[in-house]
Symmetry: C2
Subunit: 420 residues, 2 copies
């Protein structure tokens, strides 16, 4: 890595760190004022943001970026209004900072355990400029400074959005605290690597994006990381399942939004019910133009479908493709899920209470569903309000992460001269 890039990132992190205290000590009402100001600025500057986004889109087209990527990159008036609404929604959430409990020890020491901000949050993301706005808003609310490192495709849009977040902070929280939201303008691979090395300057690093990005961060970071997003999710249809319900849930889990992490990738079905269920499933998926790749036993029931390989069971397609496998027992289904799953969202369709309980106890994942679609794993659907992402690790936060995931605890102990 070039030393120059490392030093540049380091300087930026130090500037963010210098502003962390201003954010951490800001009152709830002041932080909300900053968020409402940010929302207003986003709306007032829609034209300027769209102009910046046009530059990004033009560059991206010139560089032959794929259409799906262009769609993620593209801002519209409605998307900018969505960013503003997001900031307003976050303003309305409870402030997690300062909450806690307290007790008194027999020796008279009083101990308070309170939620405090992490300090400086780092976020590495890809082409979606709305991530910059969402993350800035979540960090303001949780009293954290943030260093953002977005993808090169979105640099102009990110710069425009971040400038407004900085303006909102200086106009409400502290006139010298603009660097509480910093954007790394160097978008080389080196700048991401540098951010991963900032021990003592970055308190937690969150990668938001594809599998490659997340794996790279998890493997290379020397700062604490929260792993998000990888979702190789399964639906298991038990032998006693209501077939109508099973088809409806499978269709929803697979087809309603195949590109997201809580979409289902592999459907497992008990061999007893497979002859009834699979033709119904195929009919539904055919209608949605969703390809099926099946195991040998699936292909006996559904002649003509492609063969699923080992790789298929390992793959998070994020696409209109479903792997299908016939299993003989609940145990086999659980073993398959615990082997290939990424610990995100898993579901069973059954009316058997003990099968449902065994499945929920034995499947090792953040969210385990009985008779419902995996698509519900989401901060909003769980009732948490805004969401930073979905953690697939077990440390610190698991499942949909709200504001609390951006906080830590601190013990404040008061005495009158106690010694041990």
């Amino acid at each position: 890595m070039e030393d120059r890039v490392y030093e540049e990132v380091r300087a930026l992190c130090e500037r963010a760190r210098a502003c962390a205290a201003a954010l951490a000590s800001a009152r709830g009402e002041t932080k909300n004022e900053a968020l409402m100001r940010f929302a207003r600025l986003l709306r007032e500057n829609t034209g300027a943001i769209l102009a910046a986004n046009e530059k990004d889109l033009a560059n991206a087209k010139e560089n032959g970026v794929r259409d799906t990527m262009l769609d993620r990159l593209r801002l519209t008036e409605a998307r900018i209004d969505g960013m503003a609404k997001g900031a307003e929604d976050i303003a309305r959430l409870d402030d997690p900072i300062g909450k806690g409990d307290c007790w008194t020890r027999p020796n008279g020491l009083t101990i308070r355990r309170v939620r405090v901000p992490m300090g400086v949050v780092g976020v590495i993301f890809e082409a979606r400029p709305n991530v910059a706005a969402d993350v800035a808003a979540l960090c303001i609310k949780s009293g954290n400074a943030v260093v953002l490192r977005g993808g090169k495709e979105a640099i102009e849009s990110n710069r425009a959005v971040v400038a407004l977040a900085r303006q909102a902070i200086t106009e409400t929280i502290h006139s010298h605290a603009a660097d509480a939201v910093c954007l790394i303008e160097n978008t080389t691979r080196d700048s991401a690597s540098a951010l991963m090395q900032m021990r003592g300057l970055i308190d937690v690093l969150v990668p938001r994006g594809g599998k490659g990005l997340i794996r790279s961060v998890v493997e290379n970071a020397r700062v604490p990381v929260i792993e998000t997003g990888a979702g190789n999710c399964h639906l298991y249809v038990h032998y006693d399942a209501d077939v109508d319900m099973a088809v409806k849930i499978a269709y929803n889990a697979k087809v309603s939004r195949p590109s997201v992490c809580n979409a289902c990738e592999t459907i497992l079905v008990n061999s007893v019910i497979a002859p009834t269920f699979l033709p119904r499933l195929k009919e539904a998926l055919d209608e949605a133009k969703c390809e099926i790749r099946g195991c040998d036993r699936t292909r006996e029931i559904l002649p003509g479908v492609a063969a699923a390989t080992e790789e298929d069971f390992e793959t998070e397609y994020n696409d209109l493709i479903a792997a299908v496998k016939v299993v003989d027992t609940l145990t086999e289904a659980i073993a398959h899920i615990n082997r290939y799953g990424t610990g995100h969202s898993e579901a069973i369709v059954t009316n058997d209470l003990s099968a449902a309980e065994h499945f929920q106890a034995s499947v090792d994942a953040a969210a385990v569903y009985v008779n419902a679609s995996t698509r519900f794993t989401d901060g909003g659907e769980f009732g948490f309000g805004a969401e930073l992402g979905i953690s697939t690790q077990k440390l610190h936060a698991r499942g949909p992460m709200g504001l609390t995931a951006l906080t830590t605890e601190k013990y404040l102990i008061n005495g009158g001269g106690q010694i041990r």
Copy 2:
């Protein structure tokens, strides 16, 4: 790293993982029975453990191991009884598993958020064999399997202790679940490195030992880590401090047990009170044969004391040495602490409410004291019962870690066919 060692460690982790479900699904009363059995076995086999320990001690002496290390390594009847009492104490604690909350969403989905075990815990430790017993007991109670990798000096003692934990499990929880407590018998550096790479097999890795070990784990691990123990702790004596109290707290924080992580290393004193406080401090520390290394202004007031260098302020002495520095303001004291501290325990002596509050809000550490000794940062002293260690990171757990640090959450969602 040798492939053979890697494969050996991998095989052991897989065996532990295969037993994780038996521990995770064990009832609270069964786990407590296992702990009481473990305690009884420790007491009944005191002779065999001491014999194993004798071998370790003989080897260590032959290899010229230092006396302080020998002391950590040495077991006595009393220490083994302490290990048994520890297991009994842990049995009496509340079971963290299965606790949680639940709610119903407007669409009728019921969501339960429950505490579940991590799965497989890895612990790398050094020469103290009691760590093997403590960690095994904590993991049994929290429903986790554990892979232990102790120092080579203690291998015979660890083997004896671990055999009893395994026996206790097979006699109470499940006859085939002995591998829920595994000891890596290869004690080369390669085996520790291998354990750090076991993504998907080790859910959390906790290093327990000196600074070098912890740094190595944090920098090299590719599994989630909880960083424990480094404690460069400070005491700041404000200008209005009660000098008697300040001397008493400084003496206790520095001298009562200098080798532990919550002992104080640097004493900061406001320049207004330094001429009164420092001679009194020196008198007290002299009595304990504690060396002072002072800044220039300290040495003007205390002629003859050694000069403190930059390195002194960075050092966790764990010894009868105190660095002393005169500062002009509370702000300067806070800046020094946030620069040199390790985020463990920090204290102020003052009678000024706003100074106390500002110090507690601005110092970035797990425990921040007003008018009390840093030595209280401890699971027992905080009222948590047994302790896995003291976390100096902000992610997942901060400060003294009880059983909950060995758990994670899981969302169990039940529906009646809901789709999104």
